[in-house]
């Protein structure tokens, strides 16, 4: 009876192609071995993006006009083009830079998770460039959401501009942008899958290879499982934090909206909106419209 069920399951087109136990078992370990690659790309790229984004946001709020224009252009370009295209341009463009060849030889000798350092560095650079632009907008919205009186109070005590930023404004900003930053991390983590297009052996690339070799899609389903293993708990945690913030602030202020949420290039996502009441969403949209435009 059980044998018969398994036989039916593995031969029926849908279950057999996507959820085939045999191929799932076969793909599980090789893909699990690539999970660290996806995670490291996401985490390191995102963490590098934090100081980068902060710096960009400062420059975008600077009184020096050329600096402001430059950063506006940078953010517009990054946010207005698909990350896929950014990957293709930079990943394949790097080797054309003079001097790259000479640098390449020693770097190629250093290998983590079967990926050499030239690939790691190029991939991390792309993620950095991409997420720094988004994070800059998160920081800017967060900093500008702090009431002006805070700045005035600190300055009237004789604190300098940067002291005020460091000890009064940023500590309050961080609390407000934490959920949005975690959402941004989830997006970055998922976007590491795009590196499959340039044969970086992260999870999706590995799954593609297995799927092609076995004529079966089950490996891709295994990959989806590993992504969800990270994104669902994080997404729930973000939602809880947002609700807590909204409660504490009594509807005023609250979490800062994700700059990715508005663009319309991507449909709304689980981690953008989960746990938000309609009120909070509309409020966040308002904040965003007034501040990003």
């Amino acid at each position: 009876m059980f044998q018969a069920f398994i036989h039916w399951w593995e031969n029926y087109p849908i279950t057999g192609i996507f959820f085939n136990f045999h191929y799932i078992g076969q793909a599980f370990l090789p893909i699990l071995k690539c999970l660290p690659v996806s995670l490291l790309l996401g985490v390191i790229g995102f963490v590098l993006g934090i100081p980068g984004g902060l710096l960009v946001s400062f420059m975008k709020m600077s009184k020096v006009k050329p600096l402001r224009w430059l950063m506006t252009a940078y953010i517009d370009v990054v946010r207005g083009t698909p990350m896929f295209l950014q990957i293709l341009i930079i990943y394949f463009g790097f080797p054309f830079i003079p001097g790259y060849k000479a640098l390449q030889m020693p770097l190629k000798q250093i290998v983590f998770f079967q990926i050499d350092l030239t690939i790691w560095l190029r991939a991390l650079f792309i993620i950095f460039i991409n997420t720094a632009a988004y994070q800059a907008e998160i920081f800017r919205a967060g900093i500008q959401s702090i009431p002006k009186g805070q700045n005035e109070a600190a300055r009237s005590l004789g604190m300098g501009k940067w002291q005020t930023m460091g000890f009064v404004i940023l500590p309050q900003t961080i609390r407000r942008i934490l959920p949005t930053m975690l959402s941004e991390f989830i997006l970055v983590f998922k976007d590491t899958s795009l590196f499959a297009a340039v044969s970086v052996f992260e999870m999706v690339m590995q799954a593609k290879v297995i799927a092609a070799a076995t004529y079966n899609q089950s490996a891709l389903i295994v990959t989806a499982f590993f992504y969800l293993l990270i994104t669902i708990p994080l997404g729930r945690f973000v939602a809880r934090m947002e609700n807590k913030l909204a409660e504490q602030d009594g509807g005023d202020g609250g979490a800062v909206a994700s700059p990715r949420a508005k663009r319309g290039k991507r449909p709304p996502r689980l981690d953008d909106t989960v746990g938000d009441s309609a009120h909070v969403v509309s409020h966040r949209e308002n904040v965003l419209n007034s501040e990003v435009s």
Binding site: P147, G149, Q150, E152, A153, A154, R155, S156, L157, G158, M159, G160, Q163, F167, V168, P171, Q172, R175, Q248
Partner: protein, 291 residues
Amino acid sequence: MPGEYQSGVNTELLRLKLESHGDVDIPDKVKNVSAVDSDAPLDVAMPADAIIRIKNLKKVFGDNVVLHDVNFYCPKGHVVSVLGPSGSGKSTMLRCINLLETPTAGEIWFEDQLVNSKETDVDHLRAKIGMVFQQFNLFPHLTALGNVELALKKVRKLSKEQAEAIATEQLEKVGLSDRADFLPSQLSGGQAQRVAIARALAMEPHVMLFDEATSALDPSLVRDVLDVMRDLAKSGMTMIVVTHEMAFARDVSDHVVFMEGGVVYEQGTPEKIFDHPDRERTREFLQGMID
């Protein structure tokens, strides 16, 4: 002599106003003043030892002239109350003193220093001028003690122990030593404002500016804050107080400045301003406030 204030009526401006509104009914007294003084220099005589001297202060936001021409001064140890309807420029004037707003024209002197000069070290100046805001503006991520300590550590560069000792002492002075470890969100409005006062006082300012310090408070909480301000005045602190608390202005001030439409409309001792003001508008305003 300190304490004997000159008349600060802005004669030139009044004359201009009168000319542009020829048909408006203006009391004879004002007309006379402007006629007699129209050739006199605009500069108002001010004693050089006054800690704050404001001369011909003008502030423009875009097309909006908020302060036309403000003149008054405050000798050391005195309390000057600034009264007037909302929109008369009281707060803007106060914020010009510590350069939270940049004056468009005129002079502000703090001790022997021209405040609105390019050479002013703004942070150094502000460390000597305490300010208390209508909305308290406590730092919500720090405890009451942390709020008072922060500038001591970052601006006066005191050690952790010294800063804590001073902060504790200041909180005690405003009667809040038992609230030292509370966050601003756990304090009542009156307590929050007293912490804000302690925070400003901890810097040992030479002058304190109060920008409608009690306007955002429940009526029941106003008294605690006013008591602290009264004690402070008694201790000899120089204070410039923008307020709607008429009883406080009358009892505590050495001098009252009544502002209207961006000018000092009338100023003098509390007795003069409250009991027999020269000008009808002053009387009307005060009447309105007391009713």
